[in-house]
């Protein structure tokens, strides 16, 4: 809002110092938002840095040895053993495996559901589905983890006879419950933002409703739908409690979704509590944390860039 032009005149005799102080206070809290993000990165990166610089840490692990296969082959993550072994590839595989399973389930479901609510559903049904998704988003991830571990794991094992009770399919199903609301909400917003004229034009040309939805509305909203997928990916890769509880936490180098695994986030959660402050293990965990931060940061930037693109496109600026 612009200041009235005669403000100076109006303010005569008013306590201007307090006014100025309050403005400073309000402005600094806005700066604090930026500072919070910067501090998070700074303090996580600060503890991660010794992995790259400290000779003491290098006696146990360097970035190079963490990526290399061990003598005699194989990758082992055993940071608490006599001779600690830090091998990242099993964690990379585990993280990607569960994220992939979760996204393969969550993205189609969420996008189809978003198309249904924005294009086909009658008003009353829409009023039912949207709060349901909001409620799903409101379930704490520890509860989803509990549900995946106690209920889903048992069902799946009875149905398919998995050797590993806790595996990437169990954890992936749990994780998809956390990802669906994000993808759905962003995609639904994008689809609803497509102007009615697009639909009217398509229907007037003789297309039916599904052709309009599939070939006019969805392509028009594509950047937004894609943004939803990217943000969902960011959530999946960083989510901790669900994976920690339902993954089995075995650092195995296997792409088989029916086997246990260990993810980046769960590794931090499981080990940071017991680790000695300042030990190589401590710095390795912070290095993983900094890596997670950077990945999710980039994914978020990309997601919001696509949302901005959608807006520009629908306003005819692109």
């Amino acid at each position: 809002m612009d200041r009235p032009r005669n403000e100076r005149l109006l303010l005569k005799g008013k306590p201007r110092i307090i006014e100025a102080l309050l403005e400073t206070a309000v402005r600094s809290s806005a700066f604090l938002v930026i500072a919070a993000l910067a501090l998070i990165f700074f303090f996580v990166a600060k503890e991660a840095l010794p992995l790259l610089t400290s000779a003491e840490v290098h006696e146990e692990a360097t970035l190079w040895t963490m990526l290399q296969a061990r003598e005699g082959g194989g990758f082992v993550w055993q940071p608490a053993s006599e001779k600690p072994k830090y091998s990242l590839p099993p964690l990379v595989v585990g993280t990607l495996k569960v994220t992939l399973v979760a996204l393969l389930m969550a993205i189609p479901l969420a996008i189809l559901a978003a198309i249904f609510t924005s294009e086909f559903a009658p008003q009353q049904l829409r009023e039912l589905v949207k709060p349901a998704v909001e409620m799903l988003a409101g379930i704490p991830s520890v509860v989803i983890g509990f549900f995946a571990l106690i209920v889903v794991a048992t069902w799946l094992q009875e149905a398919f006879g998995f050797t590993f009770r806790l595996n990437a399919i169990t954890a992936g199903i749990g994780l998809s419950l956390a990802v669906i609301p994000i993808v759905y909400t962003v995609a639904e917003d994008a689809l609803s933002a497509v102007p009615q004229a697009f639909r009217d034009g398509s229907l007037a040309l003789g297309a039916n409703r599904w052709q309009t939805a599939w070939r006019v509305v969805l392509p028009a909203a594509m950047p937004g739908v894609f943004a939803g997928c990217v943000l969902g990916f960011g959530r999946a890769i960083g989510e901790t409690m669900i994976v920690l509880m339902a993954s089995g936490n075995a650092a195995m180098m296997s792409w088989n979704p029916a086997e246990s695994f260990r993810s980046f986030s769960a590794t931090i959660a499981a080990e940071l509590g017991e680790v000695v402050y300042g030990s190589p293990h401590y710095h390795v965990l912070f290095f993983i944390g900094a890596f997670l931060f950077i990945i999710t940061f980039l994914l978020n930037l990309a997601g919001h860039w696509y949302v901005g693109r959608l807006r520009a496109r629908l306003e005819g600026k692109l």
């Binding site: 200041r3 009235p4 303010l11 006014e19 309050l22 403005e23 309000v26 402005r27 809290s29 806005a30 700066f31 938002v33 930026i34 919070a36 993000l37 998070i40 996580v44 479901l109 969420a110 189809l112 559901a113 198309i115 249904f116 294009e119 039912l128 349901a132 409620m135 409101g138 379930i139 704490p140 991830s141 520890v142 509860v143 989803i144 983890g145 509990f146 549900f147 106690i150 669906i180 039916n208 409703r209 599904w210 599939w214 959530r235 890769i237 901790t240 409690m241 509880m245 986030s265 959660a269 940071l272 509590g273 402050y277 944390g289 997670l292 931060f293 999710t296 940061f297 978020n300 919001h304």
Partner: protein, 301 residues
């Protein structure tokens, strides 16, 4: 040809409806399962009692108390800060300026930082940096605040929930008609007077929504408090800012994964989950209702 198109269309529409159904069904499945198994175990004794017999018997009062204390502390920190930031963004800053853009970008990214990274931040910043600084300055180096405790856990959660509060508050500020502000300016009010007497009273409901959403989020997060103050089991309630505490979500995690006898803890576990779910849902429901009334007002304006 015509019939073929119609057939595919019907299939496609059904598929989208089915996806909706599956999502709603998953929600119902979780809620139903928890209510059926947890409901019978809920009692006054469960809510008000202490855990007994290796947490397989008794109640969870310390965890409830800890959660409420944690969330209250968090609210005290995040609401003033979040509301002030929103006021700056909407009432003070020139719209479209570089700074506003940057703050919004930071908010979006803050909302996307994984919860576990917040936990690491709490450990590295609040406990190891601020905590030891406080100890050196005020407690002659004696270990007082440089350890996991409720204060640092609450502040970590405050940083995590900051975007929620700012976004909800901004939405509320946007719902206050521009003409109200203009009328106040015309009557000679200063900028802060407009904020204090016109804008804020009008947006109380929205600020409340943001607060409730933040509380519901904060009450359910476990990863950020694992290393910053939550305790496995404590025989006493937290009384000082540097005490550790028990918390509902963390209690669920502990009971699920660390219990020696899962079958024996199951009834208590289910009841605890039901309690946490009921708490977060009740909060979310209130927030949704308040927000929809604000949106109606916004559409009317």
């Amino acid at each position: 040809m015509k019939r073929w198109i119609k057939f595919v269309g019907l299939g496609f529409t059904t598929l989208t409806g089915l996806a909706c159904l599956i999502i709603v069904a998953m929600l119902v499945l979780i809620l139903g399962n928890v209510v059926i198994h947890g409901g019978p175990r809920l009692s006054w004794e469960f809510v008000s009692g202490e855990p007994r017999a290796g947490m397989t018997e008794g109640g969870i009062f310390p965890a409830i108390f800890g959660t409420v204390a944690l969330v209250l502390l968090m609210t005290l920190a995040v609401v003033p800060l979040g509301v002030a930031a929103a006021i700056y963004l909407h009432e003070y800053a020139r719209q479209g300026s570089q700074l506003v853009h940057l703050v919004r970008l930071a908010l979006h990214n803050l909302a996307g930082v994984p919860a576990i990274v917040f936990g690491m931040f709490g450990l590295g910043f609040f406990i190891k940096f601020v905590g030891s600084g406080v100890d050196r300055a005020f407690f002659r180096g004696q270990l007082t605040f440089a350890q996991p405790c409720i204060l640092w856990a609450a502040l970590t959660l405050a940083v995590l929930t900051l975007p929620t509060v700012v976004v909800a508050t901004e939405e509320a500020l946007r719902a206050v008609p521009r003409s109200y502000r203009e009328a106040a300016y015309a009557a000679g009010a200063t900028r802060w007077q407009v904020v204090q007497h016109v804008v804020l009273p009008q947006s109380v409901a929205g600020i409340l929504t943001g607060t409730i959403l933040a509380v519901s989020r904060g009450a359910g997060e476990v990863a950020p408090i694992m290393f910053t103050g939550a305790a496995y089991y404590l025989p006493y309630l937290p009384k000082k800012l540097n005490d550790q505490f028990m918390e509902l979500g963390y209690h669920i995690y502990v009971l699920t994964t660390q219990s020696p006898d899962v079958e024996a803890t199951k009834p208590i576990l289910y009841a605890t989950v039901l309690l946490l779910l009921a708490l977060t849902f009740a909060l979310n429901l209130v927030a949704i209702l308040v927000r929809s009334s604000i949106r109606r007002k916004l559409r009317g304006a």
